[in-house]
Amino acid sequence: MTKILDVNGLVTRFYSVDGVVHALNEVQFDLEPGETLGVVGESGSGKSVTMMSLLGLIPKPPGRVEGGTAVFNDGSDTFDLLKLSEKELQEVRGGKVGFIFQDPISSLNPTMTIGKQIAESMMTHLQLGESEARKRTINLLQQVGIADAERRYDSYPHEFSGGMRQRVMIAIAVACEPAIVIADEPTTALDVTVQAQIIELTQRLQKQMGMAVVWITHDLGVVAGMADRVLVMYGGTVVESALVDDLYENPQHPYTIGLLGAIPKMEGEDERLVSIEGSPPDLLQPLTYCPFASRCPFVFQRCWKERPLLIPIGKNHDTACFYDVERGAPRDHV
């Protein structure tokens, strides 16, 4: 199967007051059509920046995408996202790639009716007239589970609850039936019961429309249930990538191991949580050694001298670490 998205060596930097923030350091991943890719990592690890960089959504200045390729191939078209002009990118955004953002309160324009905010996308990409767009928007609103869609078309965001707003966001993202939907922590701001609703809705729409979904989250629980594959990011780089079962059963990167250990179990007696001591890396320094070195329990001298690259260690399982956790010794052939 051809990959719908193949990203290699993506580098993004932010030129801030305090210096250059090395936000992305040669990020590498791919996406198959129709699959769900979970992207996990803590804040600042570069999960959102990666996706925003691909579609030219990072604020410029101070941001700058400085390297890499991101080949998009939906069967009919093949092109490098990073080489597109702003105008070409506009066609991709919303048309071929939909976005769902974290905070549905601030992510919707407070002074525009939600109907218009959805229809706008259709009118731009599908060249629909206003009435046609309205019809399809109402239809879409019903699909995302908003009752009384006809009337709600003319409502403003503040009249909606958080969960409803997130449904609207989803409607905006899928309005033009994109090939990829990128969901950037879409449930973080929501309550558990609502989170469950949103997850279910996304999965249903994904099946219906056959989209690939990139689900960015810091919650390993959320992706466990829905992702096909999981990408773990740390310090602006991908540290591990594996099929979901493989990752949870057989994590290879010390960071992934730590992350899994940090989540309390929902059954049985509680043991002490595994905590990853220390703080996330300072991205003001260029990444010349392993970003996790300062917090890694397995760290050894090489980790401070060299940056580990993503290497395949099993079927569909890559990791960026010099240490073989299973063997309890440094990898020798890397």
Binding site: L57, Q90, G94, F101, P110, E120, T124, Y156
Partner: protein
């Protein structure tokens, strides 16, 4: 929303009442009105007659209550100089001032807002630089100096436009330009910063993620929200233009309220100054109220809000 507006209405009314009281006593603090108003050459008995005729011999509280009572009946007293009801004098001049202020405001908005929007969308660009400089220029050049140069250039040197008065439709061009320059400066800066701020809002990111063009984002998402940020400033500026255009009206011999006030101050026509102060305050209060109404109309969060 009606409740909200009603309550704002009542508040405005109370505010006006406060203005009436404060203005009365402040004006009275300035001294014996009689010696200010009677010509220097007039003999003493004339002064006393005048005092009596105008009721200045009564106790202050009696004068105050009469003034208040009259004010409620829209009687703002009589001008000493013009010997007419202040309100009728003011009403004669009001249309000119409103006309000038409105054109100026329109001019300021039409010129400044696009400059601000362009600057806000392209911070650091050449257009932004020029726009900001223009804004600073507007805020640093005194309006009346600017006005004099407008006359020198466009009336005297080039002979394109009349130098004073309100005789032709194009008479308004020079005074309106002079009056709007300060507002332009302010609007450029505010629009720019509003746009800059809105550009960083999450919903603009959402709009971009939909693949909208810059134009569409600017027109549909930024403009309305930036307008919200500008409304209160625009109304403040408008009330300034209505009330603070003394220099400009005077320079252009524009038959408006500012000119009237200038004359009233020169002539020490305190009843008229008092009435004008009240009318200007009325503008301010009304415009504040109007701001609230506009907000209520265009900001859906207030329109349906709690």
């Amino acid at each position: 929303m009606q409740r909200y507006l009603l309550s704002r209405l009542v508040q405005s009314f109370l505010l006006l009442l406060g203005v009436l009281i404060v203005v009365f006593f402040m004006i009275r603090l300035t001294g014996d009105p009689v010696s200010l108003m009677v010509p220097k050459e007039a003999p003493a008995e004339v002064r006393e007659a005048f005092r009596e005729a105008n009721g200045f011999n009564r106790p202050l509280y009696a004068q105050f209550f009469e003034y208040l009572l009259n004010a409620f009946q829209l009687d703002l007293g009589h001008s000493l100089k013009f010997r007419q009801s202040n309100l009728s004098i003011i009403m004669e001049r009001l249309p000119s001032t409103v006309y000038l202020a409105t054109i100026s405001l329109f001019l300021a908005i039409v010129i400044a807002v696009p400059i601000g929007i362009i600057g806000g969308f392209n911070p650091g660009s050449a257009a932004d630089t020029v726009g900001r400089a223009f804004g600073l220029f507007g805020q640093t050049i005194p309006g009346f100096v600017f006005a004099l140069y407008l006359i020198l250039i466009f009336a005297v040197r080039l002979g394109w436009l009349p130098s004073f008065g309100r005789d032709f439709w194009y008479s308004v061009i020079l005074p309106a330009t002079a009056l709007s320059i300060g507002g332009i400066g302010q609007f450029v800066r505010l629009t720019r910063s509003a746009v800059l701020e809105i550009r960083n809002e999450d919903y603009i990111r959402t709009a971009r993620s939909k693949g909208l063009s810059k134009m569409a984002i600017g027109a549909r998402h930024v403009a309305r929200n930036a307008a919200l940020a500008l409304i209160s400033v625009v109304t403040v500026q408008y009330s300034y233009m209505l009330g603070g255009s003394i220099y400009i009206e005077s320079i252009f011999a524009w038959p408006g309220l500012g000119n009237l006030l200038q004359g009233a101050i020169v002539d020490r026509d305190f009843p008229l100054i008092q009435a004008l102060a009240i009318v200007f305050s009325f503008f301010v209060v009304t415009l504040n109220l109007l701001t609230d109404v506009i907000y209520a109309v265009i900001d859906p969060r207030i329109r349906y809000g709690s």
